[in-house]
């Protein structure tokens, strides 16, 4: 199926660029937009433009925000001695959704990956070390850095690299435990996950 309008095809092309969207879905989305009232489409377009115009990155933690410093860095109720290091802003949202973490964040902007041309200098690693090594006078001294990077080989390597750079400083470096997903039976857990969970067992 092909739309007979060039503008619709152009829209399909744009949708198809989104992650997880194939051409089939892109066409469905375009058909949906075609049916929407113009005012609603304008709202949608405005929201798209707004994220590029208003959203900046926090100069402390590099999370996306409308204000600098971001609400998390600015909050007095957060524990500023604990920093959770993540790869992407989406990871901050994931951890925030748990409502189980009260520290602050540091967004790296990815993980080290030579194949993608991403070296440590392309990530906010220098900035993280600076935060831990020479905190600004107004900031408390960081006591713990939690490395919450992805459990991929790139994430593992990035975590090891950061831990090496943090070693000279008096800061505790921890890594997220890898366990059995809640809601899954031990019996149905794959051997790799099970073994890692065993290695990362905790005393009671």
């Amino acid at each position: 199926m092909q739309f007979s309008s060039e503008s619709v095809e152009a829209l399909v092309d744009q949708f198809a660029r989104l992650p997880g969207i194939g051409r089939k879905t892109a066409r469905r989305l375009a058909a949906f937009i075609l049916k929407l009232p113009k005012a609603e489409v304008a709202q949608m377009a405005d929201a798209l433009i707004a994220v590029k115009e208003k959203v900046i990155s926090c100069t402390t933690c590099f999370n996306v925000t409308d204000h600098d410093p971001c609400p998390i860095c600015a909050s007095e109720r957060r524990d500023h001695e604990t920093v959770c290091v993540v790869e992407e802003p989406g990871d901050v949202m994931a951890i925030e959704r748990t409502q189980g973490y009260s520290g602050i964040y540091h967004v790296l902007g990815g993980a080290i990956s030579p194949l993608d041309g991403i070296g440590p200098e392309d990530l906010r690693i220098k900035e993280l070390i600076a935060r831990a090594a020479n905190p600004a006078e107004s900031d408390p001294i960081i006591g713990e850095v939690i490395l919450a990077v992805n459990p991929s080989v790139e994430g593992d390597t990035t975590a090891y690299y950061i831990s090496q750079l943090l070693a000279p400083f008096e800061v505790k470096v921890t890594r997220l435990a890898r366990g059995i997903p809640i809601g899954s039976d031990l019996e149905f857990t794959d051997e790799a996950t099970l073994t890692r969970a065993l290695l990362a067992r905790v005393s009671m």
Binding site: I112, P114, D156
Partner: protein, 439 residues
């Protein structure tokens, strides 16, 4: 122009888009159990077999169904008719890819928009399990077990143990180390998903580390020491786990190999395999990590000079000997053949022991070039209770029939164009087959 001999299975394959879930997809599949080696309880060896398979858009097969017995199965037909494609499809359902290629575009029939294979497995331990694999070019491949889609292809490996004998096995003893590594990885992966996980991660780290070394070399620089060390740590983490498992495997497998060799060889030679990951040191599972680390340090300068990782399981070899004689360089044709068959039979035996189920055995055209004595010895084994289900392809049924005598054997005939018949085709067609198989 293939026809579908059985109409009862129409419902399993046939919807226009292959990536649909079955209605029960969101429930936990009833009978799906993790790889049997995970179970703590040791069962006596159970049977596992594939009852039927439906192929759509697989090479010669536009739309075919093949039914199997739990014992000896024979697929007869001229070369190029699509016999091997049926074995490839069975393999695909067990290990997520064909044994001939890992590129699904080569598995797809020319001109078809997608392929779809569905098989019904029966297991003593797990009951009936349906596995479906579908591939759409540009969208990829999905595998469904009991109606639920697998998150990762590798989650399939080990659930349905399988062993293939094919003419390509010659390369195992005669050619480069990559064939032996692939053989090793196949067996150990089927018996340990942890090994497969390390293997996949190792391959990724290796690519990354090689890129780091190579790009630094191109810039005539040395990579950042901490950065290289970080990749080295990750390499050693997975590499040492692989080496340790390979050492453990080689020790256990040695006995299986000796027994298998005895079964098919009339000569009293002793087969051995030697795995020496670090030439100058005796490696054990315990010291693998330290030795690997030390070897990487020793070779660091050459790695920097050449811009590539020079040490690790990706360069391992498995040496093979008959008594004192290195097989690769000095064995005769016959010895190569016997050794190759023994390797595969031992693989079967090893997987059977580890998974508490008799693996499915695929024999692709191996009888055509074998002398009668070896065919006889082999069919005796197929006919014993050592082997569970076996599926054999042959250009002429007589090769197998002559040796089996009155033993039960289910025969399926495949004619040119992927036409699957449960009865022997007419004389006219036999005439075509004979002329076609003369090449």
């Amino acid at each position: 122009m293939a026809t579908r001999p059985s109409s009862s299975s129409n419902e399993c394959v046939g919807s226009a888009y292959p990536f649909r879930h079955s209605p029960s997809a969101h429930q936990r599949p009833l009978k799906v159990v993790p790889p049997a080696h995970l179970s703590k309880i040791k069962f006596s060896v159970g049977s596992l077999f594939i009852k039927s398979i439906h192929l759509k858009g697989i090479r010669a097969h536009q739309d075919s169904t093949v039914n199997f017995d739990d014992g000896i199965n024979l697929i007869v037909g001229p070369n190029g008719a699509g016999k091997t494609n049926i074995l490839e499809a069975v393999h695909l359902l067990c290990l997520s890819k064909s044994f001939l290629t890992s590129n699904d575009r080569y598995v797809l029939r020319r001109g078809e928009p997608f392929y779809e294979v569905e098989g019904h497995f029966e297991s003593d331990i797990r009951g009936s399990v349906t596995v479906r694999a579908a591939f759409v070019p540009g969208e990829g491949k999905k595998i469904f077990v009991g109606g639920a889609v697998l998150e990762r292809m590798v989650d399939l490996v080990g659930r349905f143990p399988i062993v293939v004998f094919s003419p390509g096995d010659q390369r195992l003893t005669a050619e480069g180390p990559e064939f032996r590594r692939r053989f090793l990885d196949n067996i150990v992966s089927q018996s340990s998903s942890l090994y497969l996980d390390h293997l996949l991660r190792y391959k990724k780290v290796l690519k990354q580390r090689n890129e780091l070394l190579l790009s630094a070399r191109k810039r005539r620089q040395v990579p950042d020491a901490v950065l290289l060390d970080s990749w080295t740590q990750e390499l050693v983490l997975h590499g040492a786990a692989i080496i340790a498992d390979r050492i453990r495997f080689t020790e256990k497998y040695a006995g299986h190999l000796e027994r298998a060799f005895e079964q098919i060889s009339s000569v009293a030679e002793r087969p051995t395999i030697v795995y020496t990951p670090f030439a100058d040191h005796l490696a054990t599972p315990e010291n693998a990590s330290d030795l690997y680390q030390a070897e990487l340090e020793r070779r660091r300068q050459s790695e920097l000079d050449r811009g590539v990782t020079l040490v690790g399981p990706h360069r391992d070899d498995l040496e093979m000997y008959l008594d004192e004689m290195p097989v690769r360089r000095f064995a005769s044709q016959g010895q190569h053949r016997t050794f190759g068959m023994a390797l595969k039979l031992a693989q079967y035996d090893y997987l059977k022991e580890r998974s508490a189920e008799r693996p499915i055995l695929l024999l692709d055209d191996i009888f055509d070039n074998l002398d009668p004595a070896r065919i006889g010895a082999f069919l005796d084994i197929l006919d014993s209770d050592v082997i569970g289900q076996s599926i054999t392809t042959a250009a002429r049924k007589e090769i197998v029939y002559n040796h089996l005598g009155s033993h039960p054997c289910r025969t399926t005939f495949v004619e040119t164009g992927g036409l699957v018949l449960e009865k022997e085709p007419t004389d006219v067609l036999i005439g075509t087959r004979d002329s076609a198989s003369s090449d």
